[in-house]
C-alpha cells in the first residue's frame, strides 16, 4: 500500500480514536474529578491531573493522536493550496513532523517535567 493511502486511512482512524479519547478526557477531567464545586485553582487542577497515572496515559495518547490528526490535516490544506513541487511537499512534511515532535515533547513535558507532582501526591494521600 502506498504511504498516501496509509496516511488517508490513518486520518480516519485517528479521527475515530480522537472522538473516544475526547469523551474519556472529558469524563476524567471534567466529570469524575472533583473540579465541579467551588473555584478552580492550581491546587485542584494539579491534584486532578496527577491522581491516576492511567489518566495521564489517556491524556498523552489524546495529545499524540490530536497532533498527528491536526498536523496531517494542516499538511493536506497546505499542499492543496500551494503550487509546490515534490521537493517542496517534502520540505513541508519534514517541517510539520519536526513541529509535531517539539509539540509532543512540550506536552509530555507538562506531565513528566513537573517537579510539583511529588508534593501533590502527598497532598492527595493526606486527603484520603
Amino acid at each position: 500500500m502506498y504511504w498516501r493511502a496509509i496516511n488517508w486511512y490513518l486520518q480516519r482512524i485517528t479521527g475515530a480514536a480522537l472522538l473516544l479519547l475526547l469523551i474519556m478526557h472529558f469524563w476524567v477531567e471534567h466529570f469524575s474529578a472533583d473540579v465541579r464545586h467551588g473555584e478552580l485553582n492550581f491546587q485542584t487542577v494539579q491534584t486532578r491531573f496527577f491522581h491516576n497515572p492511567w489518566f495521564v496515559t489517556v491524556d498523552i495518547l489524546f495529545l499524540l493522536f490530536a497532533l498527528y490528526h491536526g498536523l496531517n490535516g494542516l499538511r493536506n490544506i497546505i499542499l492543496d493550496y500551494s503550487v509546490i513541487g515534490k521537493n517542496g511537499a517534502r520540505v513541508i512534511t519534514v517541517v510539520l513532523i519536526l513541529i509535531g515532535l517539539v509539540w509532543a515533547w512540550w506536552g509530555i513535558d507538562a506531565f513528566s517535567g513537573n517537579n510539583l507532582t511529588q508534593n501533590t501526591q502527598q497532598l492527595t494521600s493526606a486527603n484520603h
Binding site: 479521527g15 475515530a16 495529545l63 509539540w103 512540550w106 513537573n114
Partner: protein, 131 residues
C-alpha cells in the same frame, strides 16, 4: 403558492453545496482546533508554576474567554459530527443521503448537543467580573 427567489436560493445552496460547505467547515474548524491545542498545551505547561497557572485561570474566567469556550464547544461538535459523516461517505455508507445527513445530523443534532452544553455554560458566566 409560488416559491420566492430567496427560498430557491436557500434550496439551491442547501442541496447543491452541502458537500462543499461541509468540506470548508471541516478545514476551518480543524485549523481552529489546532490553534486551541497550542493554547491548551501552553496552559497545562504552566502547572509547573502555581502563580502563573492561577494567573492564567483568572484570565480564562473573563467573559470573553467563557464565550470563546462556548465557541470551542461548537467547533468541536461540528468537526466531530461532520467528521463522522465524512467517514461514512468514505466507506460508502448512506451516499445518496449524505446531504440529509449533513443538515440533519451534523448541523441538526450538532445544534441540540451545542445548546445542551452552551446554555449551562452561559449561565455560569459572571459578567460582573471575577468572583
Amino acid at each position: 403558492m409560488t416559491t420566492s427567489t430567496a427560498q430557491l436560493l436557500v434550496r439551491k445552496y442547501r442541496w447543491r453545496y452541502a458537500g462543499m460547505i461541509g468540506y470548508y467547515l471541516q478545514r476551518v474548524t480543524g485549523l481552529a482546533l489546532l490553534g486551541y491545542l497550542l493554547l491548551h498545551v501552553h496552559t497545562i505547561n504552566l502547572l509547573k508554576d502555581p502563580a502563573k497557572f492561577d494567573e492564567a485561570l483568572a484570565t480564562f474566567r473573563s467573559p470573553l474567554f467563557k464565550l470563546a469556550e462556548i465557541g470551542l464547544l461548537a467547533t468541536v461538535i461540528l468537526h466531530a459530527l461532520n467528521g463522522i459523516r465524512l467517514t461514512m461517505v468514505d466507506c460508502g455508507v448512506g451516499l445518496t443521503k449524505q446531504r440529509q445527513i449533513f443538515w440533519c445530523f451534523a448541523i441538526g443534532v450538532g445544534a441540540i448537543l451545542f445548546l445542551a452544553g452552551a446554555i449551562p455554560m452561559l449561565m455560569h458566566i459572571n459578567f460582573q467580573g471575577a468572583k
